[in-house]
Assembly symmetry: C2
Amino acid sequence: MTSIAFNHATVRDQADMVTFLRLCAERGLNTVSIWGDEIAKVGEENALRALCDHRMNVLGYNRIGPFVPEYLDRAEAELQRAARFGADHVSLFTGGLTKGHRDLYSARRRAEDMIAGLLNVARRIGVKLAIEPLHPMLVGDRTVIGSLTHANDLCEALGSGIGVIVDVYHVWWDERLETEILRAGQAGRLFGFHVNDWLVPTRHVLTDRGMMGDGIIDLAAIERMMRRAGFEGPIEVEIFSADWWARDPADVLDVALARCQHLFGRDIAI
Amino acid sequence: MTSIAFNHATVRDQADMVTFLRLCAERGLNTVSIWGDEIAKVGEENALRALCDHRMNVLGYNRIGPFVPEYLDRAEAELQRAARFGADHVSLFTGGLTKGHRDLYSARRRAEDMIAGLLNVARRIGVKLAIEPLHPMLVGDRTVIGSLTHANDLCEALGSGIGVIVDVYHVWWDERLETEILRAGQAGRLFGFHVNDWLVPTRHVLTDRGMMGDGIIDLAAIERMMRRAGFEGPIEVEIFSADWWARDPADVLDVALARCQHLFGRDIAI
């Protein structure tokens, strides 16, 4: 049976991590994705206790990156914290081009080298790394990995302990989508499936993602691709939206759950 | 020797077609790309006379599309007008998903069928068709062709008389860029090369393109890819920007020419 998980980012403006966990638990959910900076806000001890009290499992831990030199020193500590929280996988965030530079090819090779180095640390600690390719409109500014193909190529070159997150927002437009989902699935690399929607018009490249059903992504079709590729994990709701951040967090969760029921069918555990 | 051409869209808000042609001629240019709706504003006879008076050649004619049923009836007339203006190629603009529909796969197949039909008409009239893949952030809303790979695949399936326009704004992020430019070049399908820049931050998905040099695209590197692939045509400046539309058109042309000289070298004919 498919289950639903929420990413804390969906309600981050008005619900701290402890509140977020309580709201999820009240709705019968047992899986969440969390953020390092939100743990810091409530304190690690409080965050761990709330997780335990609510018997909540951690799916994704956000995040390692952006890959600036001073950050890499902290990456090991971040991976160890993810392990303490029992995260299934840790999201990578490469960051974009260095300010004043335009050589995307070299930036990609540097990011790949950094990921290879991080993977060695992650394997030692025992956590999995997840590459989430971002939408091409975020290439250069926020990432250098803008397609599932690039992420899959990199995973294949690196071996075990690394996989991909398929976020519909970033990849829905790609004519290679079904092929690349299948390829990741066959390699056992489908670690996460994030849902939201693409609004028309899109007013902001970062904070105008839609609630499932309000945009033009064929979400049910992409979910079927994931299942055919062998993905058995939860559907994770992650919506970066100034509009939804302004609403009552409990209402946001309720609307999202209703939309998931409608889009993905009745055999969903919530 | 490389030459520079302007697309009328760059100064469309403050210069009608006759003014635009005069401004280009005053700067020693001999090639422009034009728009059907701008011809209609000044009248076809005036537009043709101004072209003749200034000894100006037409590179691109914009455009066929979006592919709504009522538009297809007009496509033949549009292609004939492009032929009267001596255009080297006519840009295709597929449009996005039909309102209320989300099936991108079927929309792509429909657009491909329509392009095949248009190509038969274009061959009879004697004009070439050009597919300009748009940025993935415009897929669904403005187009269903969001990569050079898709455009090249389609061209290969269709045969002669159809090629691609490489607009840096739409394709610069793509890890397949060099491969796909080379592929188009080897097939003799590189019909156009549009330059502008990607701004960080990008404030609007349609009207915030940058002047060359103000963003993060490695324009010189992409121009070298085009030349290595055998492209010998002009560098076409096409900037959709509310900021630049608000400036004096003559100044916009002068700034753009200076930027091209700086970025693409001294062997440029202007």
